[in-house]
Amino acid sequence: MCGIAGLIYKGKQSNVGSQMTSMLQALKHRGPDSTGYAVYSEGIAEEFVMRVKVAEADDMASGRGIYAELERRISKIDEILKENGVSIKDKSNATEYALRYVIKYDGDMGRLANHLEEVQGAEILSIGNGLELIKDLGDATDVSGAYGLQSFNGTHGIGHTRMATESDVDIRSAHPYWAFPYSDVSVVHNGQITNYWIMRREMENKGHRFTSNCDSELLAVYTAHNLSKGMALEDSLRQSIEEIDGVFTYLVATKDQLGMAKDTMAAKPLVLYESTDLIAMASEEVAIRAILPQEIDTYDPYDEEVRVWQA
């Protein structure tokens, strides 16, 4: 199972962090292993937020030596940023092993991210102008509280509650996945991709990197590949239904768009609510009801349905 949720406001900002937390907490029964958020604000021109983790949550139980090791890894990251001419505007610890940098950089983002991931244990969770991507073990309230998400105001967001079926219970396998190395693109997925290894090898042959063995990561890499070729998000979603096998419903968010795609069998659920200023969607109605207590009209998208909304 697994639960996915998303919302997007048209032309305005709202307390997206708090609302996404309520929606994902309502989906806890679909996946208690980990929770993740990709939330978007308008951002500041020419500045990027980089989310990076330098260890897995379980590593913190490996002994006192881990703290010195984390310091070493973080120093190394700072050093690489400096070497690449990155200006660090702000740096803060979300948790002992997860950091948030605000940077100014006009170079090759993919090259920078690759360089940073040479540091042992380091994984870039996201880089974006408007994107804040956080994910960790635990339920929605735990993760949101630990990363201070409740006060986040933004335009849109997607999220995921994970029941691990295809890979380990760790942050690496948690959703959302950032569409490395393209800023501000993230993906959440509910389902199983049956041609994962074929598609993964195809993507790797094209030069893309994978950080986990989770089949959902393929959708992020696949989307990134298509967007890098200049394909529109809607076209990428449509093409994925033809090329990716299995049962899936997935959401993709970019800096100003939110899209959804459903497989040919419509085997994975999604409930949609659309109003003039808000679109909300989730694996189950109960998540939408968590933020909209009034009586509303909702519906299920059909098989092979693709939709894209603009913020």
Binding site: T264, M265, A266, A267, P269, V271, E284, E285, V286, A287, I288, R289, P293, E295, D297, T298, Y299, D300, Y302, D303
Partner: protein, 289 residues
Amino acid sequence: MASVNDFDLKQMTQDERVKALGMTSEQLTGRSMFMEFDAGASERFLYPWAPDVDFNKRTEIDSDEMTSTEVNEEIKKLMNEGYGTIVLKNPRGKHSLGVGILSKLNLIIEGSTGYFGVGLIDGPNVRITGRVGWSCGENMMSGTVLIEKNAGSTFGAAIRGGDLVCRGSVGSRTGIDMKGGTILVGGDTGALSGFMMQRGRMVVCGNAGKNLGDSMYDGTIYVGGEIKSLGVDAVHAELTDLDKSWLTRKLTQYGMLPKNGVDHFNKIVAGKMLWNYDNLEPSEKKLIL
């Protein structure tokens, strides 16, 4: 339906009697679909342990702060106290509300429910003013369920009897594995509706998605709109006067009769090239049925 008194009924033939009572004896497709109703039999079977409820005794449950289990236990408790009309407020998409009700009851749910709403029921009349999630009415045996808005996928999965009605549109795999009863849909239905259907009737006033009636054993599907594609072994059949009469009566009953009537409906049945239990020996048939 005009009222009929006992004297008139006794003067009628069996065929006239069942027609006058709104019931019907018909052979839709093949011998395994032969349905015969006995006008003298009680329409609703009552379990010996079923509570004796009074429809005029009405109460409300505010489920806002309750779990699904607590709501269902409260319904049973109220039924044992004789309440025959229960209004459930603030369901807010909760799952499994109203499941396992095995006796007569008027249940009105004001709002929307989540997965598996009113599944495994045998007898109650349910009206839901909102939308329902996946698998509403799954395995229902008898009674009526009327949904005012849309419904999710696997609507009426494996139902055996009763009327399951959605005024709006429903998701995919509607009536999958249905073994009896009637499913009525006012709007559209998604892919693979009627998949492995074995008995019963499904009526879709709008459009149907791809692979309609895929691998169906028996039963009948009526579609008023366009059919994207038929599934394996699902075939068109002639819409008879009996079909039209039944469709008109059933859709009128729920205020869903299209303005242009039912003459344009397509009738889909099993081609029986894939599964066919009509040709079994009587002893084998007994095991199957």
